[in-house]
């Protein structure tokens, strides 16, 4: 060989190595700076509809995302109510919460005073008619009828200043219809077994660190009561986010460690105790994971915890490349030292490369998903697999030119696999029959695709149940119906809310709904306030009317001088605005229902509808509000469900496109329909059987099962390709030559399969539903793919 050529070759090799090292270093640097997130917003659509925009606003930064639901259990009734009072006090003083409610009415003294002082601007009963002789008589009569009853105790204190009962009318409008049970002066659950509180964190819902600190404050302040034998339970979306982040973190660590140990064990078994081989085999895995993180981080700006957990399965797939190479790169007889790599690149790399392309096709489909979470999974897998394959192809020939020397237990494995491949083809008809049964079962059973958004939630069913129970206690149903109105400015949106309110009042009187909450009840529009203020009569008129209205009644006019004075004061009162409410006790309540806008976003008011006895008739509700501009009726439960359906539909389409792309790629490469069919058979059969078993077992399938199926196709097709390669090599040999199946190739296949099955099995035992679903599908799927490939693609009898 010519000396310069050799030197150029060495130079090129060194160049490849340097480039590879540079890439690894860059990936490490990016991964180290990556922001890891764990909230569910990655699984919310990036291009929402108008209704979804309302919902996302609520989910991401609305007051709903800042609620902490607190329950106190155990101990005596008195101990719980005392703890509720003192805990609420401590939390209010901590400064970490905008509001803390526990049903302790003494807290509302300030609110009461504010409302009382502004009653003639805020009371819905105030209009011109209210201060005529007839109006006064009616108002006073109604107020008086409450005196001498428990409900009248509050009125009695103020009746001389407020004889028409405006305070009562305001309270009626503002008190929630789903109020918690009150016992011992604090809120309790309906069966009184638990005291309940609800706090709004100052930290934003998306700020998980802030949420975690707020929750810690609750736990710290509760510690003295825990010592008395009381138990604290916490829920809310902030608590969910914190819990899922912690859970995903420990789970990912656990999976990575367990997967690593299992695969190292398998490698030791197959290559003996060579550390060098072991390090080699783990190299593509490490590079793959790094490349995945770096790519996702560069494109999305963060890496979701679920993506990372899913990434551990890449260990199983990427280690396959190393196994193929280390076993299959054998120097040809007479080829000399170092010829193994060349032989592998000639004979086996094309098959591995084809397998890589099919996998990429499968995952690339996810890249176009409108949900950032799925797109992350796709990108992570594509980048990881490419990096692992390139590391194997580019770096291994230099590190291990002749594969790995050790054999470990591999010989025996090879023999055993050889025996299996000889026996399995005899079972091809039973297998075919099984696949047919599976297909029929699937056609016959109802569709198992009925997973829901909750199935993506990593927090356990127990925590979800607790959340539902606490929400029930407090009357904070988050799956209710909202009427959302929007307008350019504050005055506009409040007027719009009042217009919607008029329609809703009609529905409430007709019994279609039982009521609704509106920000316009806390803060009426400026136009409405002005109308009320203008309706207030001067002192002389009012006194005259009052004289007439109270004649012969139980409450003579001369005792109501303070009322006349208050009305005169109210005529000079400035109108209330969002700004003037700032710092008053009403501000947090208003903030929950009125979302300020800016140049790009409109102001939005949320009117929560309380369902009637038969729930909410959405059609009637929509019809009633149809002609109001900027008004939408959103049912949060339906909207979430609809979002998931759209999500599933989109993912199904992408999975089908991915499968189609895999077929086209194989067809182009093989240029033989017969071989394409031969490869497709075992994969399709494996998918059918897995699906049929899961449907028959009654498992609700969702998006992640679909991703799992896609993975099964992508990985399973690699095995089928190898069997197909073996068979076509044998077919190409002249007739009569004994068909020597390379037991090492078979052993490499079995090993690769084993590692993948093991890593997906680990996922199947994960407590995170997203990972669990994937593992549940892929582990049996790829094992079946291998067995069926051996059965359906038999070596011709020699």
């Amino acid at each position: 060989m010519l000396e310069p050529l050799k030197r150029a070759g060495a130079f090129a090799r060194r160049g490849v190595l340097a480039l590879w090292l540079a890439c690894v270093v860059a990936a490490i640097a990016i991964a180290a700076r990556t922001n890891y997130v764990a909230d569910l917003s990655a699984f919310l659509p990036s291009t929402p509809s108008a209704e979804q925009a309302v919902l996302l606003d609520q989910l991401r930064s609305g007051v709903a995302s800042r609620l902490v639901l607190i329950g106190i259990e155990g101990g005596s009734r008195e101990a719980r109510s005392a703890a509720s009072l003192r805990l609420a006090q401590a939390l209010r003083q901590s400064g970490a919460f905008d509001a803390v409610h526990n049903g302790d009415n003494s807290q509302f003294e300030a609110t009461g005073t504010f409302l009382f002082e502004h009653r003639y601007l805020l009371s819905p009963a105030v209009d011109a008619q209210r201060f005529t002789v007839e109006g006064l008589r009616e108002g006073i009569g109604e107020t008086i009828s409450l005196l001498g009853t428990p409900a009248g105790a509050m009125i009695k204190r103020v009746i001389l200043r407020d004889p028409t009962g405006e305070t009562m009318r305001m309270a009626e409008g503002m008190l929630p219809a789903q109020a918690p049970r009150s016992d011992g002066g604090v809120w309790v659950s309906r069966n009184a077994a638990r005291a309940v509180l609800v706090a709004t964190t100052r930290a934003d819902g998306a700020d998980i660190d802030g949420q975690e600190r707020s929750l810690q404050i609750v736990r710290d302040r509760f510690a003295p009561f825990a010592a008395q034998g009381l138990k604290l339970v916490l829920s809310g979306s902030g608590s969910f986010a914190v819990a899922s982040r912690a859970q995903i973190k420990t789970e990912v660590e656990r999976l990575a460690v367990a997967g690593g140990i299992a695969i190292i064990g398998i490698l030791l078994l197959s290559f003996g105790g060579s550390l060098r081989t072991l390090a080699c085999a783990m190299l593509p895995v490490a590079c793959g994971v790094l490349a995945g993180i770096a790519a996702v981080s560069l494109v999305f700006g963060n890496v979701h915890g679920i993506t990372l957990g899913f990434g551990t399965t890449l260990i199983g797939e990427a280690v396959d490349y190393a196994i193929y190479y280390l076993i299959q790169a054998r120097p040809l007889p007479g080829g000399g030292k170092g010829s193994g790599a060349r032989q592998w690149i000639n004979d086996n790399w094309p098959t591995v490369r084809l397998g890589l392309w099919t996998s990429i096709c499968g995952f690339a489909a996810l890249l176009f998903s409108g949900f950032p979470g799925l797109a992350q999974l796709g990108l992570f897998s594509v980048a990881g697999l490419v990096a692992a394959a390139l590391t194997t192809r580019g770096v291994f020939p230099m590190l291990a030119p002749d594969g790995a020397p050790g054999v470990g237990m591999r010989r025996r494995l090879g023999q055993w696999v050889g025996w299996c491949t000889a026996v399995l083809p005899r079972a091809r008809w039973p297998f075919a029959a099984l696949s047919l049964v599976a297909a029929i079962t699937l056609a016959w059973l109802p569709s198992p695709w009925r997973g829901n958004l909750a199935s993506l939630n990593p927090v356990g069913a127990e925590k979800i149940k607790l959340d539902e129970a606490l929400r029930n206690d407090i009357g904070a149903d988050d799956n209710g119906t909202i009427v959302a109105v929007s307008a350019r400015d504050e005055a506009g949106v409040l007027a719009q809310a009042e217009a919607a309110g008029v329609r809703l009042d009609r529905l409430a009187n007709a019994g279609v709904i039982s009521g609704y909450e509106s920000p316009a009840r806390i803060l009426p529009s400026p136009a409405m306030q002005k109308l009320r203020r203008d309706a207030l009569p001067d002192a002389a008129t009012l006194t005259a009317n009052l004289e007439q209205a109270t004649a012969g009644g139980p409450l003579p006019a001369q005792r109501l001088a303070a009322f006349v004075t208050d009305v005169q004061t109210a005529r000079q009162q400035p109108l209330l605005t969002v700004a003037s409410l700032k710092g008053t006790p009403l501000a947090p309540a208003l903030a929950a229902q009125l979302l300020p806008g800016n140049e790009t976003r409109p102001w939005r008011a949320l009117l929560r509808v309380q369902p009637g006895p038969q729930g909410v008739d959405m059609a009637k509700l929509r019809t009633a509000l149809a002609d109001l501009p900027g008004t939408q009726v959103v049912n949060i439960g339906d909207e979430l469900g609809g979002m998931y359906t759209r999500y599933l539909h989109e993912a199904t389409l992408q999975a089908l496109l991915g499968a189609l792309a895999v077929c086209v790629l194989l067809a182009l490469h093989l240029r033989s329909w017969k071989r394409l069919l031969r490869i497709a058979q075992p994969i399709v059969a494996a998918v059918l059987i897995v699906l049929a078993v899961m449907s028959a077992a009654g498992i609700a399938l969702g998006i992640l099962h679909l991703v799992g199926l896609l993975l099964t196709v992508a990985i399973g097709s690699n095995y089928a390709l190898f069997f197909d390669q073996i068979r076509s090599q044998q077919e190409a040999q002249p007739a009569g030559t004994p068909a020597a199946v390379d037991q090492d190739t078979l052993a490499s296949l079995a090993l690769a399969n084993l590692t993948s099955v093991v890593s997906f099995c680990l996922l199947a035992f994960s407590s995170i539903p997203a990972l669990f679903s994937v593992g549940q599908v892929v582990a049996p799927g790829i094992l079946l793919s291998l067995l069926l490939s051996a059965a359906f693609i038999p070596a011709p009898k020699g």
Binding site: S145, N509, P554, L555
Partner: protein, 208 residues
């Protein structure tokens, strides 16, 4: 002398009161008590009545008069409809209270307003003969005979005692004739009840 006399009187008084205290439970058991009363009342499954109410309120110059209809149906429905002087309606079904006045109407859970629940549960618990419910919320004392009984209910919850001193119900057999609510601030209301439809034949021995 005088001192000895006084001592003797005191001793006799003490002895008498011990006897009286001992014999009280015996007499109560032998006569008419809460289990017996609630059992009697629980036989009536529904009823319709008219009422007139007088209310004495300290800040008002006159006694307030009102009248209307009452109806109840076991196990947990109770409706009070005031016809004069204003039309008003309070309907309690299970844990829901619907208050209507004019064209306005609103529904709240009864247990979220203990102040209102105290009177509602006193009347509803008595009408349905729900002893467990009465004993959960009140200290209950029964006196009289089945022919002419009196049930005094005092709220157990201290916060409610600051509002309602007691609810007294008087009646005859399974019928409630009068309800007196004494507020802690001295205000009182007395509601007189007159049956309009006799209880269903199977339910009560209404004959005297």
């Amino acid at each position: 002398m005088l001192r000895t006399d006084r001592r003797a009187v005191l001793a006799r008084f003490a002895a008498l009161s011990v006897v009286a205290m001992l014999s009280l439970p015996l007499r109560a058991q032998a006569a008419f008590d809460l289990p017996q009363l609630t059992q009697l009342l629980s036989r009536v499954k529904n009823s319709e009545a008219v009422f007139t109410e007088k209310r004495m309120v300290s800040i008002l110059a006159q006694t307030l008069m009102s009248s209307g209809r009452l109806s109840f149906a076991a196990p947990d429905t109770f409706v009070r409809e005031t016809l004069k002087p204003h039309h008003e309606k309070v309907a309690v079904v299970g844990n829901n209270v619907t208050m209507s006045s004019g064209s306005r109407s609103r529904t709240v859970p009864l247990d979220s307003v203990p102040e209102a629940a105290v009177v509602v549960e006193a009347i509803r618990g008595t009408l349905t003969g729900n002893r467990e419910l009465l004993e959960r919320h009140f200290g209950a004392t029964v006196s009289g005979t089945p022919q002419r009984w009196m049930l005094e209910l005092v709220p157990i919850e201290p916060r409610l005692r600051e509002l309602v001193k007691s609810v007294q119900l008087a009646g005859q057999q399974s019928l409630v004739r009068e309800v007196t609510v004494a507020m802690a601030d001295g205000d009182r209301s007395v509601m007189t009840i007159e049956q309009v439809a006799s209880p269903k034949p199977a339910s009560a021995p209404a004959s005297n």
